[in-house]
């Protein structure tokens, strides 16, 4: 029986605490570059696609009740198949961590440093990533319980400060942006989405509840709505300048009259989001460590965590100066692979729950109770 059991509530908070803030750093500006004032439609399309996949995976949770994705893979493809599956998803999560980590480094640099700090100043985050990975999925769930307050309060404060200077006519006309541009905006910003694989790897790691699918999918779309409202406010505030607003949390709140009179109170919100993002950008490394742990039989649980963090740190140290080049490569070439990984769970429709299928009713009931 797996010890890493989370509550459904923690999965819901995981979307809001970790996954949501990471999308608010550079993605809105990039969406505006392609889709102008219809940036929110681009994001809506991506959220809808991800939400649909999360809904589908929640359905798998019922089909393969109590089984982790590795157990499903092993029971259907054998040990070799499970290993290949783990390696591929290890690479996926490592690639998924790359852009957010560099972005977060730059976000911290812009927000908290006056001069450009040496790269190694940022390296302790990889020690943190190793520790976070070591604590496992249950630790991530517990952290989400706390960090959700940081994320939500940060976003609410920034939105409240920004609304007073927002011009809502900046969202018009909705019809002027060609559909191709909106779709291009979706495609180019999709790197910041592809969230459903997280849900895939949480299979078997949470305690089943009534209406769990509605809760999880509802939470995802709820937090998606928060992100979309945030993007709408951003567009209303900056209008034609939205595409220049990288690191939006540090840009949004400072035009309020309150900030002029009191001082940079928006920094409270910025620091909250920085904190949440630390967990958010290292979350893919947690899942990469889980994959690595299932690939090789490590003696100590900390070993795959250290390997994952070290590799990520080294890659970023050597390639950080080529951020824009690498981002373009990701946008042009890597998106199809990410999409393939995201759509991979569709194969599970054809797989059978061999584990539970071989059990008689009594054994199945016992297993289910154990899983609870």
């Amino acid at each position: 029986m797996n010890k890493d059991k989370m509550y459904v509530r923690q999965i819901c908070f995981l979307f809001g605490a970790f996954i949501l803030p990471v999308k608010l750093i550079t993605m809105p500006a990039l969406a505006a570059k392609y889709a102008s004032e219809d940036l929110w439609i681009s994001a809506f399309l991506n959220f809808t696609a991800d939400g649909a996949m999360i809904w589908f995976i929640c359905g798998l949770a019922k089909k393969f009740e109590g089984m982790t994705v590795f157990e499903i893979a092993e029971s259907n493809f054998g040990k070799a198949g499970k290993t290949i599956f783990s390696v591929l998803f290890f690479l996926f999560f490592m690639a998924k961590a790359y852009l957010p980590l560099i972005e977060h480094r730059n976000f911290v640099e812009i927000s908290l440093y006056e001069t450009t700090p040496a790269l190694w100043i940022f390296l302790p985050i990889f020690l943190f990533a190793a520790f976070f990975s070591y604590k496992g999925l249950r630790g991530a769930g517990r952290a989400a319980d706390i960090m959700i307050w940081f994320s939500v309060s940060g976003i609410v404060i920034l939105a409240a400060l920004s609304v007073s200077v927002a011009d809502f006519s900046n969202l018009l006309p909705v019809t002027d942006v060609p559909v191709a541009n909106i779709l291009n905006g979706s495609l180019k910003t999709s790197l910041w989405f592809f969230d459903s694989p997280y849900m895939l790897f949480l299979l078997g790691h949470f305690k089943p509840e009534k209406k769990q699918t509605s809760k999880i999918v509802g939470a995802y779309f709820g937090f998606a709505a928060v992100a979309i409202v945030y993007m709408l406010i951003l567009q209303c505030e900056f209008g034609t300048l939205t595409e220049r607003q990288f690191f939006t949390p540090i840009k949004m709140g400072k035009y309020s009259v309150s900030v002029s009179n009191i001082g940079r109170i928006d920094y409270i919100a910025v620091c909250s989001i920085v904190m949440s993002c630390i967990f958010g950008v290292t979350l893919p490394l947690v899942f990469a460590s889980v994959c690595l742990e299932k690939t090789f039989p490590f003696k100590h649980k900390i070993t795959p965590c250290l390997i994952t963090s070290t590799v990520a740190g080294a890659v970023i140290a050597f390639t950080e100066d080529y951020y824009f080049t690498i981002r373009n490569i990701f946008q042009e070439c890597v998106v199809p692979f990410f999409a393939a990984f995201t759509l991979f769970p569709l194969i599970f429709i054809f797989l059978k729950n061999k584990d539970n299928g071989n059990l008689n009713d009594k054994q199945f009931k016992e297993k289910k109770e154990c899983a609870f």
Binding site: E114, T115, P117, A118, L127, F131, L241, Y255, S260
Partner: protein, 405 residues
């Protein structure tokens, strides 16, 4: 877990402490930092070089005004960024722009596209683009060098004046870098800046008089001599189209333009001549808006810019000896006064609109409205919409009956 407790966490903590004590997390010592509080930009028309003048906050026990000139550091460069870099090179101070809340553009900048300069501020994250932006008569350096009785640091005094509009006086067309750039990049390609002139202290009448004319060639006396105390007049506004200054709005035009986006509560307007108690006199009226509408629409398929304004008026000051029952604040303004105020506001708006049409400037954002709310017509009408749109005003002045002062 034991490994974690015994080795990992101590190493983590030791590493963080090492960072803190050796590099101070990349921060620069305050002794090596110049905290820049104001930024002036001028251009040498002969060499084409930009001259950046920065006002540096120097902690001081004394309030001696002469120190103001000592806190200005200038440098020249082919671009504003290069000039700023020269300041760091020549002084050894690292210019900290995070606290720079005002950027002044000298007159030499205004004749060309000011976005050539402002692009630097939009791009850089070192200077907050929430900083107030203004234009000035003469050079920005001279303006920063003025000694004023208002504050030992000239830019602080200037900021106080430029941001006074939070009291809803509506006299200053204040704007920040972000909003100016947003206007420039919008369909209207418009912009406005408060136009600052120095006025010799005690001679502020010169400043207000400048508002009666067009303002372009008039204005308060420009005095850059260091031995004189100066105050500032920012009640007129420089108007930009496609980044270039095209005209200047007089203080009263600026005030009425400000009503578009701001609320009026303690707003005053002058009426040159009214008949009160059988005598002709100039008067100062307090106006308090109760309804306003500044909007573009099509009327019988013809483009119209409609300004509807309903304000409550009260005579604040007039050179007439009135009985005590007729004195401010209990007196109601007579019908003739209200009529005169309506005419004054209508005339000022009409004159301003005509001035903007002549300059082909879309200050009221007509193209933006056309694009956002009448998008199908935008392509066919955008080129001559400014000239073809007629102004329709409906100004109603009512007597203010409240006793609130």
């Amino acid at each position: 877990m034991r490994f974690l407790r015994t080795y990992f966490l101590p190493i983590l903590i030791a590493f963080a402490m090492l960072l803190f004590f050796t590099h101070d997390f990349g921060l620069i010592d305050i002794e090596h930092t110049a905290i820049i509080v104001a930024f002036g930009v001028d251009k040498d028309q002969i060499t084409g070089e930009y001259e950046i003048s920065t006002q540096i906050a120097i902690p001081q026990a004394s309030t001696d005004n002469t120190s103001n000139s000592e806190s200005i550091i200038s440098a020249k460069g082919k671009t504003p960024g290069e000039a700023l870099d020269m300041i760091a090179v020549t002084t050894g101070w690292y210019p900290l722009l995070a606290f720079c809340n005002i950027v002044i553009l000298g007159e030499s900048i205004l004749s060309e596209n000011v976005m050539d300069v402002l692009n630097y501020f939009i791009r850089t994250d070192r200077l907050p683009d929430s900083a107030t932006l203004c234009a000035c008569k003469g050079s920005a350096k001279d303006l920063l060098l003025t000694d004023t009785p208002l504050d030992s640091v000239s830019s602080f005094a200037l900021q106080k004046i430029l941001e006074q509009d939070y009291a809803k006086l509506d006299r200053i067309a204040n704007i920040n870098i972000k909003n100016f750039a947003d206007g420039y990049f919008s369909k209207s390609e418009r912009g406005f800046l408060p136009f600052v002139k120095t006025v010799a202290s005690g001679d502020s009448k010169n400043a207000s008089n400048s508002g009666n004319g067009d303002g372009e060639n008039e204005g308060g006396e420009q005095n850059s001599s260091a031995d004189k105390n100066d105050v500032y007049d920012a009640s007129s506004a420089a108007i930009f189209s496609k980044g270039k200054k095209v005209t200047i709005l007089s203080p009263e035009e600026t005030l009425l333009f400000n009503l578009k986006d701001k609320n009026s509560i303690d707003t005053f307007i002058k009426v040159d001549e009214i008949e009160l108690n059988g005598e002709k006199t100039p008067a100062l009226l307090e106006i308090d808006e109760t309804y306003k509408k500044f909007g573009f629409k099509f009327e019988n398929d013809k483009p119209v810019y409609e300004i509807e304004l309903e304000v409550q008026c009260r005579i604040v000051s007039a050179n007439v000896n009135l009985p005590v029952s007729e004195l401010f604040p209990s007196a109601e303004a007579p019908e003739e006064v209200l009529k005169a105020a309506e005419e004054k506001i209508t005339d000022t708006l009409t004159k301003m609109y005509r001035k903007l049409q002549l300059a082909d400037c879309d200050l009221f954002g007509i193209k933006n409205t056309l694009y956002r709310f009448h998008y199908p017509k935008y392509e066919s009408l955008k080129d001559d919409i400014i000239q073809s749109t007629t102004l329709k005003t409906k100004i109603v002045c009512k007597a203010k009956t409240t006793t609130r002062v």
